[in-house]
Amino acid sequence: MNQINQSGWKPGTPVASIDGEKHPTVTGNKALMLEEALIFEIGDADTYGVDLPYTPTDLPGRMGKFTRKGEIGLPGLSEPQTVRHYTRLSRQNYGIDLGFFPLGSCTMKHNPRLNEKVARMPGFLDVHPMQPIDTVQGALGVIDELAHWLITLTGMQSVAMSPKAGAHGELCGILCIRAALEARGDARKVVLVPESAHGTNPATAAFAGYSTEDIPANKDGRVDLDALKARLGPDVAAVMITNPNTCGLFERDMKAISDAVHEAGGLVYCDGANFNAIMGRVRPGDLGIDAMHINLHKTFSTPHGGGGPGSGPVVLSEALAPFAPLPFVEKAKDGSLRLIEEENMEEHHASTFGRMTAFNGQMGMFTRALTYILSHGADGLRQAAGDAVLNANYILRQLEDVLHAPFGASGPCMHEALFGDAGFAEGFSTLDLAKGLIDEGFHPMTMYFPLVVHGAMLIEPTETESKAGIDQFIMAMRSLAQRAKDGDEALLTAPHHAPRARLDEAHAARKPRLAWSEPEG
């Protein structure tokens, strides 16, 4: 491995020599793989790719003394340069369109292109959130129709549509719970969260003013019901449970857990990140859940977009429905739809806990999700869950002889298979195996999560992988598992075929460089 170079070789400068590289090029390009410099290095303040000039004007402005004095310092590119810049950048990315994305708890399924087409219909794309209500009945219709599906699929009473993402939905659910408890004059202080929970769960509870305590798990990887019951009491506001849980298992005792929590005066929040495994197979409402967020960007195929936008509607039980945040879509007696906001909440929705976002939620995600749901229908969604679970069990059983499966004996898994790093040669880690997977043409699985398994590898194939694709993945995993056990040193420096070798994250954090600045001298 070479020494860390503080400045780093940059695209656009000649490559002098790279140790050990077989056929170096002077540009650093590799045929179809083109290096690309920053817009600040290739653009300038005088270039642009839009129609200019606009009409020049001698009219006196109305901005007074507040006009900009100095240079903005924003580089521009012509349209051809712009298209090339972003096309080249895109090719340095892995995406579902390119290959298998077995990222546990993230449900990276195929993103149908019909969704994209529909979201761009002018009546959805080009509509303002504050247009008169008569001019947006179709947009409200999308929200209403999607809400109906989500309520029916989950067997719940109501749904708050506005949360912007999963964690925002969690916050919405927990704030509903706090509002409901306060409305009955019951200030409880503690939220119980399993150790295997997503990091957002304790962060959300803390934000809502609760302290969190761990719920212990049993040796099967499920919530220890007796331990939970023993901890319940008048100080426990809620439990937050992920079901199926992050070990990939269905919480068999979910109904008993809910009953016990309710009996102790608390409420049950379910992290719905893993709803894909059970949609159309069991309804969370029947399991006694009071609130659950649904990640439309996981379960209902809206694109992840390189880290958002997400969308996190929250289905609510009867106990929590009155506290849902504004705005809210409601059907009037004449069948027309209206938006309940501060202007008209008094008569309809007076106990709302407030507002979480400026406008109506992630409309662009609603149109995509509804399109997906209508395509699948109730039968297709049920089949999708079944195929997702089948694919995960297939992977679990095809790999458990070469990788440690800590809960392999706990029954069938749900939509994800969990492995640990036991048996790897000394000095070899889950990270090394994952980076080897990159060279084999796959995105790594979720690593080191859940925290309860050493060197965890959480694999979620989803229902949109073919058997041939999964078989190839299994072949790659078996080879990599063997190399990790044998101590194949080449794995320690993988990936060898990606646009970049391993990046120095410690260097990035030590002296953060988070924005472009012109080089000195």
Binding site: Y48, P122, D126, H128, P309, L390
Partner: protein, 453 residues
């Protein structure tokens, strides 16, 4: 079903390999009395691509698209022309279907784009550091308030009365749970913002002062004056901007004493989309406070071969590492919207954003002068960028509805934004961007004349 690749032959072979008699058997852990043996009742079954498209098109047609009417609505969401290449590029599968770039070796496309985006936002705002985006402007505004309270270890938040009421409502809602004390007020109906009134409300216990620039009535506050007053009391100045195009003409808030600048980035590249997904922008002027920032940050580094590369960094602030001690529970950013913003900004460059701002302001000035000639209408603002308030003698909400009946989307009645304040009911907020033609402006003026009593 077209999205499911497994065939029945595959399923049979895989079930055999798994040792299960059926897919239903894999759900053995679900209590049998709660397990659904068939599709959920009361919902339709699968449909063809053609049928679904037809259904959705029918819903789409029930909306009046902004392009099909003279359009003057803003109030926190702005309609601008988005160049065709923006939407083409964001639909490249490698951007559209990528995950959060936690595996930097195969995510340099997203990461380099985020580094460029952060740099663009920082420069537009006149700040040192911007993050990789938040959900939207209103949630970014709350995160700024929370950050200022963390940094100052104070709990009192002074909101300008002319802050977008939805933003103020988000802050009030969140503050109920964090026990920050929110000091709000009604907006003054004056030609210039009441900066002095705001300044008198700042005291030694104040953690932050939140000012919108331009404000909800379209006026431009004197940021430097407010910043000086805030800093004298040890408070942070948070500036909220809902229209980034304005900063092509107006001085950057970071150059006028703002400590945190947040805003809505939707106006560039993203489109109206009935309110979401949008793009929260978040930037700070003092780089020493970077470890107190919420949200994802992308930073420069090198790889093992000495090549420049980018990674998500300083993640010890975030929920997946810090859990209950994180700076925010935020997990997602608004990646694809950030990409759209960044591409649009790259196409504009300094010259384009300046020219676009000038054109918006020119048309807004023309519209304000024309509308002022309509009997029964006065223009409130002494200063504005592309949005201003008309004062009418009647409830402007009814006028907005009457205009819509005549096919004109004429603005937002202030009664909708401030339902509790009777004095504002006559206010009509009108926004004019480069998408409005002179003919549209004339149509608005003449139709307004028709519908006013």
């Amino acid at each position: 079903m077209r999205y499911l690749p497994l065939t029945d032959t595959d399923r049979t072979a895989m079930l055999e390999a798994v040792g299960a008699p059926s897919i239903d058997a894999l759900f053995a852990d679900v209590p049998s009395d709660l397990y659904l043996n068939g599709p959920v009742e009361g919902l339709p079954l699968h449909a063809t691509e053609m049928a679904v498209e037809k259904h959705m098109r029918r819903l789409s047609k029930k909306n009046l698209a902004a392009a099909d009417a003279p359009f003057f609505i803003g109030a926190g969401a702005y309609r601008h022309h988005v160049p065709a290449s923006v939407d083409h590029l964001i639909q490249r599968g490698e951007f559209l279907t990528a995950y959060t770039p936690y595996q930097p070796e195969i995510a340099q496309g997203t990461l380099q784009m985020l580094f460029e985006f952060q740099s663009q936002v920082a420069r537009l705002y006149g700040c040192a550091v911007a993050n990789a985006s938040m959900y939207d402007g209103s949630t970014a505004c709350w995160e700024a308030v929370a950050m200022a309270s963390r940094v100052t270890r104070k709990k009192r938040v002074v909101l300008s009365g002319a802050l977008h009421p939805h933003y103020a409502e988000v802050v009030r809602t969140m503050a109920k749970f964090t026990e920050d004390e929110i000091a709000g007020s009604a907006p003054s109906l004056t030609a210039l913002p009441d900066d002095d009134g705001l300044i008198t409300r700042i005291d030694d216990n104040t953690a932050s002062v939140v000012v919108q620039y331009p404000d909800i009535l379209g006026r431009i506050p004197d940021l430097q004056k407010i910043a000086d007053a805030a800093h004298a009391k040890g408070a942070k100045l948070i500036v909220v901007n809902t229209e980034p195009v304005a900063l092509g003409a107006l001085e950057a808030p970071g150059n006028l004493g703002a400590d945190i600048v947040v805003g809505e980035g939707q106006a560039l590249g993203v489109g109206l989309q009935f309110g979401g997904p949008y793009l929260g922008l978040f930037a700070i002027t003092d780089p020493k406070l970077v470890r107190q920032m919420p949200g994802r940050l992308c930073g420069e580094t090198v790889d093992a071969d000495g090549k420049r590369g980018f990674v998500l960094t300083l993640s010890t602030r975030e929920q997946h590492i810090r859990r209950e001690k994180a700076t925010s529970n935020i997990c997602t950013n608004s990646g694809l919207c950030a990409l759209a913003f960044s591409i649009h900004m790259t196409l504009l460059g300094a010259k384009g954003i300046t020219g676009l701002a000038a054109e918006n302001h020119r048309l807004a000035c023309i519209a304000a002068d024309r509308l002022a000639k309509v009997p029964g209408v006065t223009v409130l603002n002494e200063n504005f960028f592309n949005e201003f308030t008309l004062m009418l003698d009647v409830d402007a909400r009814q006028i907005v509805r009457d205009l819509a009946d005549k096919g004109v989307l004429g603005g937002v009645g202030l009664g909708k934004l401030f339902p509790d304040i009777d004095g504002l009911k006559g206010g009509l907020l009108v926004t004019v961007t480069e998408t409005a033609s002179l003919e549209d402006i004339e149509t608005l003026a003449t139709t307004l004349e028709e519908v006013l009593p």
